[in-house]
Chain length 110, copies 2
């Protein structure tokens, strides 16, 4: 399988970087992650996302949004808020979040 990184518009836009270490076992994670991907795609201002998790359970998801307000709305979305609680209870050993304004971007395709 070969995947292309998400297409993004001309800057400025925002990126949320979510770096995390999973706990052992699935514990409902895969289903919830799929549901969150489905839900965030419905969030006004959502532009796309890229995600990778390695064999040790360390992963990075970057989600692109048109503006800060969209990120704030996504953060308070009730189902997302509840799922973040489950994440802390069960799925993550550590995580870090960085919210940043994209100033420039470029891409390359073979």
């Amino acid at each position: 399988m070969s995947s292309r990184p998400a297409e993004t518009p001309e800057p400025p836009y925002y990126v949320v970087v979510f770096a995390s270490q999973r706990t052992e076992g699935d514990n409902g994670y895969a289903e919830a992650a799929e549901r969150m991907a489905e839900l965030v795609a419905q969030q006004p201002g959502f532009l796309g996302m890229d995600s990778a998790r390695d064999a040790t359970g360390f992963g990075i998801t970057v989600a692109y949004f048109s503006d800060e307000e969209s990120i704030k709305q996504w953060r308070v979305q009730p189902e997302h808020t509840e799922t973040r609680g489950e994440g802390r209870a069960s799925w993550y050993q550590h995580y870090a979040v960085h919210v940043a304004k994209v100033e420039r971007a470029y891409r390359w395709d073979r």
Copy 2:
């Protein structure tokens, strides 16, 4: 193995998001990636990095820098510039880069 995401200072700082799809085979990639990690750590203004690549060869690296000038200096670092050329010649099918200013960040540890 359990890894913690990189520690970062209080914002503002910068993040470079590099999302990429690898080609098949190693072709010298692992050695070069290790060398680049060693080299960027010597770059003034470098704050840390997180990286994950999944079994399909899709990966995300996020590198944190104190300011834009450090990113520009890293971009023109001669060995890094040469290695980027090798990346386009051999290692990557697609990549995207987003350079962004971090406005807020938080972390959570079990």
